[in-house]
Each structure stands twice: as C-alpha cells, then as structure tokens.
C-alpha cells in the first residue's frame, strides 16, 4: 500500500514537473509580451464605422511589432472582442480580458454606453479606460477620475470648436447674436452629452439653440427636418452615429437644407457616412479629431510594414488614410506611447502592468518632434497630460466632403477652455459628491 502511495506521489511529481516544463515557456512568452485588449464592433448597426476604426487599431499594433520589434523589444499581443456596440457584450468583453495575459494594458471601449458601464469598475480592477473623443466629458478632470482618459477632446470641446468655425464663417462671434442654431441629436446619452456645452455657448454668444432629438437608430427623421424647414436655423449641428448620419444628409437634401450649413461630430464624419450619397453630400462639414483627415508618414509605414507583407487588417489598402482608420491609428499610437512612458519609469524592455500604464497615460508628453518621429507630425498637435488634465490636447480641424473625399478646410482650432473648464469642474464635483470620492490633490503629485 505504502509503495503504491509512494509511486503515486512520484507520478504526480513527474507529471507536475513535465507540466511546468511544458507551460513555463508559454508563461515566459506571455510575460514577455504586452497585452492590449481590443473591444470592437465589426457587426451591428454601427459596423460601417467600427470596421475601419478596428482595422486602424490593429494595423498600428502590427506595424509597431514589425517596424520596431515592439516597445523597447517587448512585443505587443492583442485580442479582439466583438461588442456589436452593445453595452452588455462590452462589459462581458471587459470582464473576460481585464486580467488576461498579465492584464489588459488599457481599455478603449469604443462606446459611451460601455464606458459608463465600466468606469466605476475600472478603479477597483486598476485598469485604465481611454476614450479618445467620446465617453464622459467631465472625466477630463483626473483628480476625480484617475482611471479615465478622454484623450484629445471631448464632446464639449468639439461643440466649442464647431461653434468657433460657424462664427468664423458668419464673420465673427458677434454675428451669432440673435441667430438660431439647431442641434439634431441621437436621443441617447451620447447625443445628449453636448447639450450643456452648447447651452453655455448660446448664453455666451447670444444665439438660440434649438435641440431636436432623433429616436435611435435614426432611420426616420422626416418630422425633424420638416421642423428645420419651418424654423430655418442658420446652421445644423448633427450629433449622429451610424445610419442616422446618411439619413440626416438625405433628409436635408429632401427638404432643401444646404449641406454646407451642416456640421457633424467626428463620429458623423467618416467616409462611410457620405460616400454613397456622393455629390448630394457635397459641402457637408464635420469636425475631425486633430487632423485625422490628413495623411502622414505613419500611413506609409503601415503600408510598407504591414500591407506590403500581406498582413493588413482591411480588405483593401485604400482604407489606410481614411478618417476612421486614422482615428484607430491615433488611439493605438497613444496607447503605445503610454506603454513606452511607463517603461521609462518602471523598467525598459519589460511588460508593464495596467496600473503602470495608467501612470504612463497621465504623464504623456508627446512633443512635435516626437510626433514627427512617429509619422504623425502633420496629423496631430502635441499632447501633454497631467494629474489634473486627462485630455492632453483639444486641437481639432474642420473637414468638408467635396463629393468624393474629405478635405481639411480649416486651420487648427483649440477649444475655449473658459467655456469648457467650468462645466468639467462642476460635473466632476457632482460625480465626486454622488460617489463619496475625495478628489486627489494634483498640486502634490
């Protein structure tokens, strides 16, 4: 009996050693890589926007691995999880990937709904959430939202910049007084997000804001556009996504509203929104996140290191350089630079934890020289984050559809923070009070 037990123990020991020997390399391999979870929506109502966006993110990671061998020798590994833009599926993806392969470096949820659902979990899981150009606008205040990073602009900065461009076209901000601007918005938290900023701007410049909700997904807008025809606003600001955007442009055509008097938010400013409408959408404007409609060396690098080697994520290399694809590249560039920044503090050449990536995101300093080096020199302006400022930059440009492609038609605009900051402060204070949070003292960090 004792022999049998001894034999059993020996057997278990051998099996254990073999199992360790077999799994050790894979653990080592996993540890040598930096894992980046990718929440995407390649199906569902918003797929036409989600596909090039997801491809841009994927292509940039592939390019960094091919061109640079990863970040200081640490290869980037990644896994896509399909959300179909549904919040429940997004939360499931987050839960599944947050601890995988040493921990998901950061989550770019690609959805305001999913962001709201995970932003209370992220501090507990110690995982940063980056929401470039979407999500909760007041989360730019890092003292209250240490784990949230609405990089490069929020819906409030976008509202201000759109109004700045309208004012410029009208001959100055004073010309806005007494005029009427309409906001046609997706009747959801996403669509309602710009309203406080536009109301503040209406008060500042003396224009009247006419807010018209459109029931999701926005396939029927006749009543909305008949009201626009009746009220005759000077300009229409379109806070749309998915099918709501082309439907709005078609309804504008059907009711005779000039397309060059329309401004879309960046999620309503991709090629997929207008290319099928073609010439009828000519003159339609949209705000671009930074200079995402332009072309830079980063695009050439992706074509050379990824597409020339048949590793491209898109079906056609023509997708590289489109607005949505470029946005995906920008997001991943910020991710990679946050990892690089974290490595500089916590040790070069080894993977960093999500908590360390958070530090990297909060201490980003991407100068113009660095942007030039990365191939984003003419696509972006410098980004510098801090404990108090999780947005890093609010620069943007206006793009216009010329019937065949988007052209950048404005110079660079920076949001007027005298309008935006009080809203951010008030929103963050309210959130802190509701959640019983004590804001960090950024002057001490």
């Amino acid at each position: 009996m004792q022999n049998r037990i001894a034999q059993g123990i020996r057997g278990l020991a051998v099996a254990g050693t073999m199992a360790f020997a077999l799994t050790a390399p894979s653990i080592a391999a996993a540890q040598a890589e930096q894992f980046i979870p990718l929440l995407v929506y390649r199906t569902g109502s918003f797929a036409p926007l989600g596909i090039p966006w997801a491809n841009g993110k994927l292509d940039y990671l592939k390019m960094v691995n091919e061109r640079d061998g990863g970040v200081n020798g640490v290869k980037l590994s990644y896994e896509e999880c399909e959300t179909a833009y549904n919040t429940d599926r997004g939360v499931e993806c987050y839960e599944r990937l947050k601890a995988k392969n040493g921990g998901g470096s950061l989550f770019d949820t690609q959805s305001t709904g999913i962001t709201y659902a995970v932003m209370d979990k992220a501090p507990l899981d110690k995982v940063p959430v980056m929401t470039m150009g979407y999500g909760r606008s007041d989360s730019a205040d890092g003292s209250v939202f240490p784990w949230s990073f609405p990089m490069l602009g929020t819906y409030w900065t976008a509202s201000d910049i759109i109004v700045q461009d309208i004012a410029k076209k009208m001959g100055g901000a004073d010309k806005l007084k007494g005029k009427k601007l309409a906001l046609v918005y997706h009747d959801s938290p996403y669509g309602k997000e710009p309203i406080p900023a536009l109301q503040a701007l209406a008060q500042k410049y003396g224009f009247e804001l006419m807010a018209l909700p459109v029931v999701a997904p926005g396939v029927e807008q006749k009543a909305t556009w008949l009201q626009i025809r009746k009220e005759r606003p000077e300009y229409v600001i379109l806070w749309a996504a998915g099918i709501m955007t082309p439907t709005a442009i078609r309804e504008a055509q059907a009711t005779g509203f000039p397309r060059d008097k329309m401004y879309g938010i960046w999620w309503a400013g991709s090629e997929s929104d207008v290319k099928d409408i073609g010439a009828a959408a000519k003159g339609y404007n949209a705000i671009a996140i930074q200079g995402s409609a332009d072309r830079g060396k980063a695009h050439d690098d992706i074509l050379k290191h990824v597409y020339d080697k048949d590793q491209g994520s898109a079906n056609s290399r023509d997708e590289v350089g489109t607005v949505a694809h470029t946005r995906g590249m920008m997001i991943q560039m910020l991710t990679v630079e946050a990892i690089r920044t974290a490595q500089e503090k916590y040790g070069k050449g080894k993977p960093v934890t999500p908590e360390q990536v958070r530090w990297g995101l909060e201490n980003l300093d991407i100068t113009q020289a660095r942007l030039d080096e990365l191939g984003f020199g003419n696509l972006m302006r410098p980004v510098k984050t801090s404990c108090a400022d999780h947005m890093g930059s609010s620069w943007a440009r206006i793009i216009t559809w010329n019937g065949q492609k988007y052209e950048t038609t404005s110079d660079w605009y920076e949001a007027d923070m005298s309008v935006v900051n009080p809203l951010v402060k008030a929103g963050a204070e309210k959130y802190a009070k509701e959640k019983g949070l004590t804001p960090r003292d950024c002057s001490k960090e």
């Binding site: 797929a47 036409p48 009543a223 998915g242 099918i243 082309p246 059907a254």
Partner: protein, 307 residues
C-alpha cells in the same frame, strides 16, 4: 396651413413606406396565424442581396438599368431559396405545434438571417440606386410662403405600395392559392385533411413575403442606404399592423397612413412641449387606443367563440 399640409402629406408618405413592411407581417399571419418577427431581418437580407447583386451585375453588364433588372431577378430567386430553406429546416418540423412555438421559431430565424446576411454580404453600407429622384419639389409657391414640399421618391414609393396591395388583395380573394392560404391560417390539420399541401403553401407564402420584403428593402434601401439598421425599420411597422388588423392587406395601408400622419403631427406639434422624440412611442399609444375599441384592429377578422 402650408406647413401643416406638408407635415400631413409627409406623414401619409412615410405611412405608406411603413405599410410596405407591414404587408409582410400580414401575409405570414394570414397564412399561418403566426406573427413573423423575422420580417425586419427579411427586409435587411433582401436589400443586402439586391445591393450586392446590383453592384456586381452593373459592373459586369456596364448598364445600371440591366444590372438592376438582373439583380432584382437574382434577389427574387434568392428570397425564394430562403423561403424553401426556412420551410425545410424550421416550419416543416413544427406542423400542428402550438402557435407560440412557431412564434419563437420566427425569433430564431431573425437572429440567423441577421447574422448570416452580414456574414455573406458584409456589414458595410451599400447603395441601391434605382434612379429614384431625390431633389424635392415645391408646389403652390404662390399660395404658401416657401411653397409646399413634396418628395418625388415618396410619391413613387406610394405608387409601388398601392400596386402591391392591389395585387396581393387579388391574390388572396380570387385565386386558388389565396383560398388555400386562408384555409391553412384557419386550421393546419383541417387544411391538410382536405388535401392542401401545407409545406408548399408555406413556401409560397414565405416566398411572397420575401418578395414584398425585397420591394420594401429596395424602397427603404434607396432612401437610407443598406446596412444593419434597416432591420429595425420593421419595429416602426408594428403599430401599423396592430392598428390595421393582422389579417387585412388593405388594413396595413390604412393603418400605415394613420400611424404615419399621427407620428409626424405629434412630433411636430406636441413634441416641442415634452422635449421631442415622441413619434415612436406615440405610434404605439395610438395603436393601443384603437385596440381599446377594436381589439382585432380596424380591418381584422372578428374572432367569435361559440360557447
């Protein structure tokens, strides 16, 4: 007054577009007593097929007209094939089962069609260009300031809807197939016992519903572009068939007109007082109010139980 007329007319036109989709619901219900949840998915799949076939055929033939005709024929064949597959794989096995089971099966068909449609034809936005005029017309400019707005594509869609209704009404009332369809809807077993081939009838009705979905898909697709959200248009047609009666083809049209006008007038004149965005739920409220007085809908068959 001019603006009210414009809103009213816009509502009528939109209502006719809803009716096009509502017809599909009515057809399946008349023939099987089942509410077909998959109608929206059928509109999506049919529109996707038309858009993709039209792209390929126009490129191959070098003519938009020929390309569209060929694509339409190919799409009709495709929807008939879909009907055959649905009958073989789903309906055939559910003969004489509870109607609730059939209802749940149509829910399953919805998910399969949504998923397969996107997998086979892609998830991007596709165009159906059948040459519908898009620029608006302004009538009575001397009478009303700015004139009265009319969209010619809506007028064409209204003509298409009216033609379809007339054809389907004739099919149901005056043909052998129509009578067989009604017999099947009344009682599966009784219909089989008098020699009506249930399987074939179901294929016919699902194929006709597929063709109606194709027409609706072409009209809506040329207005909106073809992508996944097209399947949600069916939700806008639900109050139409509730109000018009699930068993009445003309009811779908009348229901469509009432809902269309109700939606637009409520959104424009009541919406501003309650923050807007009321047209979707207002349509359901309107349908429910009608149900209080006519539970079978405006033109639905009265259900009488003998005790």
């Amino acid at each position: 007054m001019g603006f009210f007329l414009e809103t009213f007319l816009g509502g009528l036109m939109t209502g006719l577009l809803y009716a096009l989709i509502g017809l599909g619901f009515v057809l399946i219900f008349k023939a099987s007593g089942v509410f077909n949840f998959a109608q929206g998915a059928m509109v999506l799949v049919a529109a996707l097929a038309m858009a993709r076939f039209s792209g390929w055929a126009t490129e191959a033939l070098g003519s938009m007209v020929l390309g569209n005709v060929l694509a339409f024929l190919m799409s009709v064949a495709f929807m008939i094939a879909v009907a055959i597959v649905i009958e073989r794989l789903v309906l055939r096995h559910l003969v004489n089962q509870e109607l609730t089971t059939l209802l749940m099966a149509t829910l399953g068909i919805t998910y399969v069609l949504d998923g397969l449609g996107q997998m086979v034809f892609g998830s991007s936005v596709y165009t159906i260009d059948v040459g519908m005029p898009k620029e608006p017309l302004f009538l009575f400019e001397g009478v009303f300031e700015g004139g009265m707005l009319i969209n010619p594509d809506d007028l064409i869609a209204a003509g298409v809807a009216a033609t379809l209704v007339a054809t389907l009404a004739l099919l149901f009332q005056y043909t052998k197939v129509g009578r067989a369809l009604r017999a099947v809807a009344d009682d599966h077993q009784a219909a089989q016992s008098v020699g009506i081939p249930l399987g074939r009838i179901w294929v016919v009705v699902w194929a006709v519903a597929g063709i109606v979905a194709l027409v609706a898909g072409i009209v809506w697709g040329s207005k909106l572009g073809v992508q996944f959200s097209l399947s949600t248009v069916a939700l806008r047609a639900l109050p139409v068939v509730i109000l018009g009666g699930l068993t009445s083809v003309p009811g779908a049209i009348i229901g469509g007109l009432i809902i269309g006008v109700g939606e637009k007038v409520s959104e424009v004149y009541l919406g501003p007082f309650v923050g807007g965005g009321i047209e979707v739920w207002f349509a359901y409220v309107l349908a429910l109010v009608f149900l209080l007085f006519r539970p079978e809908g405006l033109f639905g068959e009265k259900h009488i139980d003998r005790v």
